[in-house]
């Protein structure tokens, strides 16, 4: 790809007379930040993890781009899980809110968050679910939201319940909400689970404990917030989500220093936030 003049379009650069593409980089997570694909405590991983060595994939155009909501793919938001039916669902009403940012601290705006969870009794509304707990005709347990310019989101839902599963004798999942995020690039795609502080099942759960790094693991536990709890109405939990960091590399021959470019970008974000 050759161009005659240096052009800045979007956030990338094309260097004149060069075949080079200047693309952002998404540095690798620290070892132990994510769970291994093969984890003996979670039995179903046994036949479902790659056994051959992974091949290092360079981060090029397909990796640093991804679906954006501007494409009109999903526009419907449904961030209140308590008003999807004629009546109110059973259980403890809660607010789950937070910020999606990257590991450099920059908010991730306009990104899709999809969630799913059990009802208050610990039952999913799904044909494969056989836990003998009652279904709630007023609760489906699915929602979605889009982050605002500051990367913030907010759901209203019901405190999910715990439920047994077949992994080992007397296995129970701690209460959790599943979160799926696109981020802004293929590299940032994340599916995770949010847990609740003080849940007595956490120490026994192989899925939660599959994460080797304790600090990273603790990041999956929401924080109770009395400040954001609404009097006479709902408890609030804060769950911030950190996606892979985005670093814009700039060619040395341009004379830019990377950190200066980064600061500039950060200022833009802050300006947006203040303007909002």
């Amino acid at each position: 790809m050759r161009t005659d003049a240096a052009t800045v379009s979007g956030q990338g650069l094309i260097v004149p007379g060069s075949d080079r593409l200047d693309l952002p980089e998404y540095p690798k997570p620290e070892p132990g930040n994510h769970p291994p694909l093969d984890f003996a405590g979670y039995k179903s991983t046994g036949l479902r993890h790659p056994q051959q060595p992974l091949v290092l994939l360079p981060q090029r155009l397909t990796e640093v781009t991804g679906p954006l909501l501007g494409d009109g793919l999903i526009t419907m938001q449904d961030a209140d899980l308590t008003t999807q039916h004629a009546g109110e669902p059973q259980g403890q009403r809660i607010i789950v809110f937070g910020q999606v940012r990257d590991s450099g601290g920059r908010p991730v705006p306009d990104t899709l968050i999809e969630i799913w969870q059990t009802n208050a009794a610990g039952r999913y509304r799904h044909t494969r679910e056989h836990h003998p707990a009652p279904l709630d005709p007023n609760f489906t347990g699915i929602g979605r939201a889009i982050t605002d310019s500051g990367g913030r989101y907010r759901f209203i839902t019901i405190q999910p319940g715990s439920y047994p599963w077949g992994n080992h004798y007397n296995a129970w999942r701690p209460a959790h909400i599943h979160f799926s995020l696109w981020g802004r690039a293929f590299t940032q795609r994340l599916v995770t689970q949010m847990y609740f502080p003080g849940d007595p099942l956490l120490p026994f759960d192989p899925i939660y404990n599959s994460v080797p790094d304790d600090k990273a693991k603790a990041g999956m536990v929401a924080e109770f917030s009395l400040d954001d709890t609404q009097p006479e109405w709902a408890l609030a939990y804060r769950f911030d989500i950190v996606l892979r960091g985005r670093r814009q590399s700039v060619f040395e021959e341009h004379g830019f220093e990377e950190h200066r470019f980064e600061e500039h970008r950060f200022e833009e974000h802050r300006f947006e936030e203040h303007g909002a």
Binding site: R20, P35, D71, S180, L190, Q193, D213, A216
Partner: protein, 195 residues
């Protein structure tokens, strides 16, 4: 020192409540001229189909462009933003999935070389604590595949796991069919990438 990332966790079996959507498998609407169907099965290490997996795809448009601000080549020509590029399909009870799309164009790699047309794939499912990433390449691009800078990183005897297999034409729709099975383990384990 940057913050730890929020760790990945399995989608479990109940992602099926939320993540699939009716248009998910259709990167382009049915009936789009030139559309092809990439279909296959997801298998576990015992050779059994995985019925609770989720396949997601991401790719360039037929001209090799992305409607994304980080594509330094600029906005998609002609202001054509209609190509979604993203596909999502849960696996069926028999492990099958299908994505209806257009073949992407080749891409500049950034060093004078060219990436052959390819589609990035995320494999998620119950029993998977993180996604596994692979790629689909095209069987009618043998020359470009031989020169592809990513395929060349893959041991030669394993490259074939990344190339879809021609499977004829659907006589009703006229769509080209390509088969792409994904094997998590075994003799023919699909090549997965560390991204």
């Amino acid at each position: 020192m940057s913050e730890p990332l929020t760790p990945s966790q399995t989608v479990g079996p109940y992602f099926a409540m939320r993540l699939p959507f009716a248009e998910g498998p259709y990167v382009v609407p049915p009936g789009t001229p030139g559309a092809l169907v990439i279909y296959g099965r997801l298998y576990d290490g015992a050779g059994d189909p995985i019925p609770d997996g989720l396949i997601e795809t991401w790719q360039a448009d037929p001209r090799g462009r992305f409607a994304h601000p980080d594509d330094p080549r600029g906005p998609v020509p002609d202001g054509d933003l209609s190509f979604r590029g993203f596909g999502r399909c849960p696996t069926g009870h028999d492990g099958t999935f299908r994505i209806v799309t257009l073949k992407p164009g080749p891409l500049p790699f950034g060093d004078g070389r060219t990436e052959a047309p390819h589609i990035n794939v995320s494999v998620l499912g119950r029993g998977m604590l993180d996604r596994s990433v692979t790629r689909v390449y095209f069987p009618d691009e043998a020359g470009a595949n031989d020169e592809d800078p990513v395929l060349r990183l893959v041991p030669e005897h394993r490259r074939r796991t990344l190339v879809a297999v021609p499977a004829g034409v659907n006589e009703e729709t006229g769509q080209t069919l390509l088969r792409f099975d994904i094997r998590m383990q075994g003799d023919r384990e699909t090549v997965f990438f560390d991204l």
